[in-house]
Each structure stands twice: as C-alpha cells, then as structure tokens.
Symmetry: C2
Subunit: 494 residues, 2 copies
C-alpha cells in the first residue's frame, strides 16, 4: 500500500512537471472507468520502474562494496568475446568447424569466480568428456558389430544403465565434493555421442574437434582467470578464517564488556553492539562457504604464500573449533542478564581480564595465520589466559562472603565476620542474584577451554604448512602491545 | 601402510587360491628386481581393486539406506533413453532436425533430485533462452542494418556487455537464490545465437527448433519427476524440520540425564550418548540444506498436504529458532562436568523435570508440524514447562543451606540451623562445586526461553498455513501420554 501511494505521488509530480500547469489528477472519480484504468496502469509502470531502480541501486552497492565481483563479470565478458573471435576468423573457424559452439559453451559453464573452482570444473569437464567419449565410441563399435536389429537396443540400454549409475554416483559424498560436475558432463557426452553416433560415421573426427574446442575454451578460461586479478579460493578461505578470528575476539570482548556496562555509559552503543553481535554470527554461518572454499582450494597451484599442498582441510578444523567457541559466546550472550550491580562489580574486572586474555590469544592466532609465522608468544599468552581463569575461580570463591553479608560489602568487602546473622532467605535471594554471574564465569571458563582447542588446531596447520618462527623480540613486542590495548579499553569502558 | 599390508596379504591369499599349492611369495628378496617390480605392480592393482570394492560398498550402503537416490538415478536414465528415441524415430527427428541434441542436453542439465529444483531449473532455462533469443535476434537485426564493417564490432560489444552484466547479476542475492541458472542460460544462449547468427540467416527457424527441443526436454523431465516416485523439496524440508525437532528433544533429554548419571548405570551407553550427540549436531549443521530446500519448495505446486503458497520461508525461522536452542545444548554439553554427587542429587530431579518438560514441548511442536494440526495442549505444556522452571529456581534458592552445612546434609538436608559454624573456606569450596550445577540450571532456563521462541515460530506457521485444530480430547490424551513417558524414563535413569 505504501509503495502504491509513493508511486501515485511520484506520478503526480511527474505529470505536473511535464505539463508545467497546476492541474492535478486528484479528482479521478469524475473521469470514470477508463481514467482509473489508465491511472492504475501508470501506477503499475511507475511502481515497476521504482522496483527496477531499487534493484539497480542494490546492484550498484554490491559492485561498490565488492569490486572483485564486477571484475569477475568483466573477465567472463572478455573470455566470451575472445572465444567468439573463432567465428570471425576464417582459418580458425574452418579448423574446428561448427563445433566452435562448444568453446562458447565451455567458457560460459566453466568460468567461475575463483581460480580453484574454474580449475576444478575445467579438469572435470575434460576428464568427463574424454572418458565418456571413449566409452561411447567403444559401445558404438560393439553395437555396430552386433547387427542392425540389436544396435538401437544396445545403445539405449547402455545409455540407460550408465546414465542411471552416473547420476546415482553423484550422491556419493566422495564423488559429490570433487567430481559432481565431471559426472554430469560424463552423462551428457556419453548420451550425445552414443546417440549421434547412430547418424554420424566420422565419430573420431567429431570427437577430436569437440575435444579441441573444449580444450581451447578451458585454456582460455584458466589463462584469463589466473592472469587478470586472480581470485584464489585458498586466499579467500585464509582471509575468511583470519577475519572470523578477529570478529570472534572482538565479539567476545564486546559481550563481556557490555554485560558489565549495562547502564549504558557511552552513546552510540547500538551500532557497536550490533557490530559485536555480527561477529560471532558470521562465524556461526560460514560453515558452507568454508567447505566449498577448502574444496576448491585443493585444485589450485601454489600462489602467493601458499604451497600446492597447503593443508586446506585443516582450515576446516580451525573453522569448526571457532564455531565451538562461537556457540558458547552465543549462549553467554543469551543467558546472562543480571541487575545486581554489587556482585557484578565484584568480578567485573577479572571477568573482563579473562575475556580480554582469551581474545588476545585469538588475535594472536589470527596474526599467526595472517603472517603465516609461528608465534613464540602464544604459549605465554595461553599461560596468561589460564592464570586469569585461576584468578576468576579464586574470585568466585570469595563470592559467598559477599552474598552472606550483602550490606556491609560496600564499605568493607573483605570482612565477613562483622555480621554473623546468616539468614537463609537473604542468602537464597543473593544466590539467585549471582546465578547469571556464575553462569558467565562458567561459560568464560568453557570459552577458554575452547580457545585452547583453536590454539591446537592452528598449531596443527602451522606444523603441516611449515610456518616459520618469528624472532623472540618481535613476539614480545606483540605481546606487550597486546596486553596494553585491551586493558586500556577495559578501563575506559568500566 | 596398513592398507598396503592388507593388500599384500589379500594378494597372497588370492595367489594361494589360484594356484591351489602352498607356495608363498614371502622370500621375495631372492627373486631380484623384476620380481619385486612385478610384486609391486600386483600390489598396486590389488590395492586399486580393493579401493574400488570399498567405493562400491559405500555406494551400495548409500543405495540401501536411501533407495530414493537409486530411484532418481533410474528416472534420469529413463528420461534420457526416452529422449534418445527422437533420434531413432524418423518423423520426430526430421521435425526437430539436428537440434535434438538440445533435448538431451536439457534433460541432463535440468533433471534434479527434487521436483522443486527440476521445476525451478526448467522455468529458468525456458525463460533465459527466450529472453536471450529475442534480444540476440534484435541486436543481430540492428547489426545487420549498420553495414558489414560495424557488424562484428556491434555483436562483440553486445556480447561483452551483456555477458559481463549478467555474470555480475548472478552475485546479487535476489537473483542468486532464484534465477542463477536462468542468468547462466541467458549468457549461453545470447552468445551462441548472436555469434552463430553471423553465419546462419534462418535465425528464426533455428530459434523455434531449439525452443521446441528445449520445451520437449523440460516437459519430459517435469512429467517423469512428478509422476514416478516424486521427491518434493517441500516435503523433504518438512520432514527435515520435524525430524530435527525430535532429535533436539532427545538430545536435550539425553544430555541432562547423562549429566546426572555420570557414574554409568547402564551398559551400552556409548552408542546411546553418541546418538544423543548426533541429535543437536544435525540441527546445527542443517542450515544450508534448509535454505536450498525452502528455495526449491517455493516453485512446487500443491502436493499432499501442502498448498501452493505454503509458508516455506517461515520454516527457515523455525530452523533458526531450533539452532538457537541447539547452541545452548551444545554449551550445556560442554561446560557441565561436576563430581559433587551431593549437590547433584539435590537438583537432579527438578533439572530432569525441566528438561523433560522442555523436550515434551518440542515433541509436541514436532507432532503439530507432522500432523499439521494445531495442538490445543501446547499452552498447557508450555505452562508446565514454565512451572518446572519456577520449581528449579526455588530449588536453587535452597542450595545455600546445602553448601553452608555440607556434612549433615546426608541425613537431614532441610535443617540448616543444626550447625552454625559458618566457615568461609568451606563455603568457598562448596560454591566452586555447585558452579557447574548453577550453570546447568541457568542454561536450562535459557533453553526454556528458546523453546518458547520455537513455539512462537511454529505458531506463526500454523497461522499462515491454516493448520486445523485437533479435538480437545485427543490433545489431552497426547498430553497425558507425553507426561508419562519421560517421567518413566527419568525414573529408570535416576
């Protein structure tokens, strides 16, 4: 309804502009049915135009934010234009004949966003076509020998059998992850060749022509995708994982700081907390992307800092350990909401310390992955994180003093002997108050354990990919600068 | 290494069988280089054979467990065999000419596992081909008018521009979810037509022939996919969601019961706990499947109990609320591990009650979805769940009595006045002991809140899809039978 209204007003404005007079279309009732229909049609058109404008705006924003996607579009356009040159250059055209169509088709179908995906599809296409071609020619030869009567039956039966089997094989996980496209191309080529073989006798000529066009198409794709602004699936995966680590660290910091800062000290916290929330949600939702990226990255040759046999599979383990951590942050974010300022203050410093120590460890892991150099500080940082946990546990032990004598705490938090009137009811209420706090502490401790899982997953990658060690001095520098930053921010916030 | 050993031993066995003699190949060193090479080759072949056998076994298991996937393979085989009949029937062949290839290609590319996916691809293919065909013919006409010199440039430029734009449009989310395949076909057809148009003058004839073959192919696919054992994406989504609900309920029950039953009362708990773990992990990992299913389900016509405009999008919300719940269960599963049997026993009954009440609610939601009938008992069950939470909170309030006087508890848990020597240290240790318990309780309370989120998501679906109400009597029956089962199991377990 709102859209309609908008559209109508926009149209009114347009008509005013066009006429230059002050005539308005408001008294439409007087104009009768055709007038209304005309108006409705115009409204519809304007609405459509606005929808298109909206779509174009979205597209523009996407292109503006991720110029790589625009570049990919341009690359595909270039590849297709290049391949259509075959039709215009007579010698080339006569070389491959009408089969040039297959080069165009190959480019359209094979050209993917990342190098790994393009390579995977190219290899799948070539292997699938070759295998199916040879098999089809073989079966055609057998069918040819067995006489005119049996020929159609043999071919139809072989098509049925192989198409069924190959289609089913696409469900098998090991085939699905790597050779799904190849299986499809196998079915396609086999059916086309064995069926057209009934008409055409020069099957070998046809096959060589088709293979050469497919190879031309794939080579063109591979060259263009690898030379012009290549987008490597491995690099994307690497950036995704390290970026998610940073987000996780920030959202851990943000969650705990927000909890102890409920009163809302600083303005504009909405956007900040939104961003914080976004952090772990990104980690929770990136499983499918990670898997497909890791799958494509395996096909890629060595590029920038990654070898051919870079342990991409191990990245999935890091991703899983990060998700484990994110589950806990999500639970923490959900189930802590306390109003008791007293107990909050009591452990806020140490809880923030634990969370900042954990996020320092996560950030150090992110740095390890980014620089691809072993961190010599990580053991120390993990040790500090564990020490913070021990401190937190010590602080928790002193909580009973707090909630047995809640009143005198404000002045002397450390003297439980002052007031010995231990009333069960007061305790009970106090315990209910500290439940969120205890939960927070307990989840923090669990998060620390899961961060250690991340540490070991990253260490495994570092071992498999043979990360180099950085100098001890540099690591110490990193470590001290790390220490200062979160503490500062914690102080600012508390 | 183990595989090699296995292969060698299998080979030895084979050779023994074949020879019938007791000659063994063990003293290979005596045979020299060719002997070793021969042995290595044989080992390789046997290893390969065993790998193939392993693969076939996996495939057999998959086919055995999910016969629908085999049926899909058979359906594709049938469709392809049917379409190749065009080549054998002369009148049909002469009708469509060499373009019959496009029918084969359409069947291979368009035939998908579910009806929704097949329909979506068919419609995408037809629309993409039509749109691109008309546009290409139009541009070809313009290029034709502008003289021989400009023709190639106009065509090349239009191919570049439209291919780039269409490729980029595939990244825009609204296009990606619904028209990704259509955009690809658009690029393909446009390039093929505008490029081949340079050679062939009878473009319209070609276009009609190609369209008719594509329509024949898609119609064949749609008919076969909808008539022979149809697999509806909507139904699959429905089954996935309801199945996941059951799994969630079971894993919630299992987690809490396991926690209070750490001593290991019953044998064979490994498998059971594995199954329990599997439950919520399925929920955590099914986001991508749910999204693609919901996307395909939108294209499907009314089938079995679902209307054309069934609120499939709302199912995604149910899925999200279930994942929310699963995050908490995952955190609960991770961060509770206590050894203090005393405090455990104190709240085990009520904690199990809360979890069983929650899982009853989830199971009732699953039943609502399965039967597609509004449950009249759900409000009552939610009320009971909330009452159980209140009881749990009451029980938590009585915990201080426990851990101030931990010793006399065994005999008289309800008399805190007996011993008034309140030692801070004892309290502290005791508090540390109950931390996991408090965390468990707190997470349970959060889970209950999230189960209520699931309830509202299901109610929204029930409203949008106009579920009918069941009779009050039947609901009561369900409810009482629900009540009994988990209580019994809880008693058996405790």
């Amino acid at each position: 309804m709102a859209q309609e209204k908008e559209a109508t007003s926009a149209m009114e404005w347009r008509i005013k502009m066009a006429d230059g007079s002050s005539e308005s279309l408001a008294p439409t009732e007087a104009r009768g049915c055709p007038g209304i229909a005309w108006l409705a049609l115009k409204g519809l058109v304007v609405g459509l135009v606005m929808k298109v404008c909206d779509f174009l705006k979205k597209a523009w924003d996407l292109g503006h934010n991720e110029p790589r996607k625009v570049i990919h579009g341009v690359k595909v356009g270039m590849a297709l234009t290049a391949v259509s040159l075959f039709y215009y250059m007579r010698p080339l055209y006569e070389g491959v004949g009408g089969n040039a169509m297959w080069a165009v088709m190959t480019v359209v179908v094979v050209f993917e966003n990342t190098v790994g995906a393009t390579l995977s599809k190219s290899i799948n296409r070539i292997c699938g076509t070759l295998l199916a071609g040879f098999l089809a020619i073989g079966i055609h030869w057998i069918a040819d020998r067995s006489g005119k009567d049996f020929e159609p039956f043999i071919i139809a039966f072989s098509v049925f059998l192989l198409a069924s089997a190959a289609t089913f094989s696409r469900f098998i996980p090991s085939v699905k992850t790597r050779f799904d496209y190849g299986a499809m191309i196998f079915i396609l080529t086999f059916s086309l060749v064995s069926v057209s073989g009934y008409r055409v006798d020069e099957l070998f000529d046809l096959a060589t022509q088709r293979m050469s066009t497919i190879i031309i198409g794939t080579c063109l794709c591979i060259v263009i995708t690898m030379i012009i602004c290549p987008i490597w699936a491995g690099e994307q995966l690497h950036m995704l994982i390290t970026g998610n680590m940073d987000k996780l660290a920030n959202s851990l910091d943000g969650c705990v700081a927000d909890y102890f800062n409920d009163s809302g000290d600083f303005a504009g916290s909405d956007k900040e907390s939104d961003k914080k929330l976004l952090g772990y949600k990104c980690v929770l939702g990136s499983k499918a992307t990670e898997e497909s990226m890791a799958n494509f990255a395996r096909w890629e040759p060595a590029h920038s800092r990654f070898n051919f046999r870079h342990p991409w599979k191990q990245y999935l383990k890091i991703g899983a350990s990060m998700r484990n951590c994110a589950y806990c942050i999500e639970a923490l974010n959900g189930c802590v909401s306390s109003e008791n300022e007293l107990t909050k203050k009591h452990i806020s410093n140490i809880a923030i310390k634990v969370s900042s120590r954990s996020s320092i460890v996560i950030k150090e892991l992110a740095r390890t992955m980014k620089t691809m150099k072993k961190s010599s500080a990580i053991d120390l940082l993990v040790g500090e994180m564990n020490n913070a946990v021990l401190e937190l546990q010590e602080d928790l032990k002193s909580l009973p003093n707090l909630f047995i004598n809640p009143k005198p705490l404000l002045q002397e938090p450390e003297c439980p002997e002052n007031n010995t009137t231990t009333k069960a009811e007061a305790e009970a209420t106090a315990l209910m108050d500290i439940i969120p706090l205890v939960t927070l502490a307990s989840l923090l401790i669990e998060i620390v354990a899961r961060v250690e899982g991340m540490v070991s997953a990253v260490e495994e990658v570092a071992k498999l990919a043979e990360f180099k060690a950085v100098g001890a001095e540099k690591a110490n520098q990193n470590q001290t600068s790390n220490k200062i930053v979160p503490n500062q921010s914690a102080h600012q916030r508390v």
